[in-house]
Symmetry: C2
Subunit: 172 residues, 2 copies
DNA sequence: CTGAGACCTGCGGATTTCGCAGCAGTCCGC
DNA sequence: GCGGACTGCTGCGAAATCCGCAGGTCTCAG
């Protein structure tokens, strides 16, 4: 009736989450299904999730706790920054000479920087900035980022309109 | 003892959330405080939140429900895409001739596209793509995006390493 | 064979959620 | 000034959920 994900766990995937060589835990189908449930509604009761994935309430609870402890997922409220009073956002492409990782670390430490990723292509790093107003944004980009030793150049893309933002990884 | 956010709501901010002219609801300090609580832990009990912000359990519950209904926030599980099996990600900068909004809409409809924003600067649109492997990524960029009528050019930045990703807007 | 470890189930008791009735303050129009 | 509509908060009791813990099963290693 209700789609059971698995029943006879025939070897191989007991140990629902286990370290693989690169350090990221491997997830089995059931944990994935649990995550999907929580991506639809982070407050869905464990019993309801259990019914959906074919597990007892307690088992779901233990798995969720483990996923949280391991840092595989987190359950949080996400908002539209505009609504919460941050009126200027920008993506900044950065070119670095020398240690890219080091610059990335420095960006990570800035509270206005929401997102940092090292990339291949004509930028070494992309960083998303969330600010209260133009002055604040200008300050962060010009004073704090461009002055980092090793930053060769930056290019800014000020956000005009956010069209889509989902958190539905694994739900398709 | 426990930091009350407000007590005498002296006019002005009854109507905790109200439409301002641009359509985005205005949030008062208490709702902001509630959001902060839920950004730390999306499953925190209403009573605990109430204690923190100085409201009854029922009041917090009503406010949270309203914030969800209005779409101001959503409570969801967020994960590291890599852990869930999406091994290739990229940011794509796009230049458009003609109706930018239209292209943005088209991108929004693609399930692999996680994030779409219209920008000022040398790209008209930035879109984040989440894929399972290289083939999938190539397919989305070359076949689906570049073939959209009006797309003049694209530039891709394949993700090498995600360094930071927070959901703490309003928490600083 | 035996012990350790991972994972699941079942079950009470504590806690939380939920729905609702009641109350207070504001903003109308009359 | 005074109802009436509206919004938001509180306080409750009932229902549902969460939580901890004591087993049980399976697998692997020695």
């Amino acid at each position: 009736m209700h789609s059971e994900v698995v029943a006879s766990r025939s070897a191989e995937q007991r140990d629902s989450t286990r370290e693989s060589r690169n350090g990221t835990p491997h997830l089995d189908a059931v944990s994935l299904a649990i995550i999907e449930q929580l991506q639809e509604d982070g407050r869905r009761p464990y019993a309801a999730i259990g019914k959906a994935v074919g597990l007892s309430e307690a088992a779901v609870r233990q798995r969720v706790q483990k996923l949280l402890d391991q840092g595989v997922m987190q359950i949080v409220a996400v908002t539209d920054p505009l609504t919460v009073g941050f009126r200027r956002q920008a993506m900044v492409g950065i070119n670095v000479e020398g240690d890219v990782e080091k610059i990335a670390e420095a960006l990570t430490d800035m509270s206005e920087v929401e997102y940092v990723v090292m990339t291949a292509g004509s930028f070494d790093i992309l960083a998303e900035i969330v600010c209260e107003d133009d002055d604040h944004l200008l300050d962060v980009i010009n004073k704090r980022i461009r002055s980092l030793p090793g930053v060769r150049s930056t290019e800014s893309f000020v956000y005009l309109k956010l069209k889509k933002q989902t958190y539905m990884w694994g739900t398709r």
